[in-house]
């Protein structure tokens, strides 16, 4: 649906980030889907994973918490798996929750995809996330991508960052 690097605009609230990793696809895919690996890298250094419970299947969830080393504060989240093609593709939603898996509807959810492309012995991972509440997301989708849209945003971007 989304080509890398083309939809990173304020108006669509879509963020595309990609990176090539020096490891075969199966291995990189597993790093995203197995707590044993996730514990080592998902959370920021000062907010490592303190809880990890993953049920990796369509309709399953990843319930996790990151804990700030300095304060002991915890941030809970749920990842809801909507589509899985091992080891190529994951479509999921990210929501804020608590230790009891109750979803916090005050904070926005994001709809995301992860693509894993084998490139020889390396793997290109493309993460696309659309950050929007349901109402503005609907408006964004209705609006589509008009011609000349990007140029206009470039002008605005140049203006606001001057």
């Amino acid at each position: 649906m989304t080509q890398p690097g083309t939809h990173d605009t304020m108006a669509t609230r879509t963020l595309t980030i990609e990176r090539v990793f020096n490891a075969p696809r199966e291995k990189v895919f597993t790093a995203f889907t197995d707590c044993e690996h996730l514990m080592h890298w998902w959370g920021p250094h000062e907010w490592p994973l303190a809880h990890c419970d993953i049920d990796f299947r369509v309709g399953g969830t990843w319930h996790y918490a990151m804990r700030e080393t300095a304060t002991g504060n915890e941030s809970w989240a749920l990842m809801l798996f909507d589509e899985i093609i091992s080891p190529e593709f994951i479509r999921y939603r990210d929501v804020f929750s608590d230790a009891n898996r109750t979803i916090n509807t005050d904070l926005p959810e994001s709809a995301s995809t992860l693509h894993f492309y084998a490139e020889g012995d390396s793997t290109r991972v493309v993460s696309t996330s659309m950050y929007a509440d349901a109402e503005s997301l609907k408006k964004m989708l209705e609006m589509g991508m008009e011609q000349g849209f990007k140029e206009m945003w470039d002008r605005l971007d140049a203006y606001i960052t001057r």
């Binding site: 963020l15 998902w42 609006m143 605005l156």
Partner: protein, 111 residues
């Protein structure tokens, strides 16, 4: 912060309003000047301007139509920063994953 961001993005969702903002990014303009390229009535343009004003994206004298509208960049910057926060988050994750995968490679390659 999230509420005001929602207002900003809702205001930006309309192509006419984005075009108005793009015009105002080049300099201030009156309602009449803003209406010209759109083949819209002044009241229709005023309606869009009110949405932009409520979102804090422009400043505009409500009663005086001849008073120029001006763009206000702060909410746009906030919206841009919101995206950049997530960019930092993912760049950080990828950095750590890269380090982790390399450490696994090194373990495997160790004699």
């Amino acid at each position: 912060m999230r509420d005001s961001l929602g207002t900003t993005f809702a205001a930006l969702a309309d192509p006419t309003r984005r075009a108005i903002l793009a015009r105002l990014a080049q300099g201030e303009a009156t309602v009449k000047e803003l209406a010209e390229p759109f083949a819209m009535s002044l009241p229709a343009v005023s309606k869009h301007l009110r949405v932009l004003e409520r979102a804090g994206l422009i400043t505009h004298g409500r009663k005086a139509q001849w008073r120029p509208c001006q763009i206000n960049a702060a909410p746009l910057k906030e919206a841009a920063d919101y995206i950049s926060l997530y960019r930092q988050l993912w760049e950080g994750r990828f950095d750590r994953l890269d380090t982790y995968l390399n450490s696994l490679n090194n373990e495997e390659n160790a004699p």
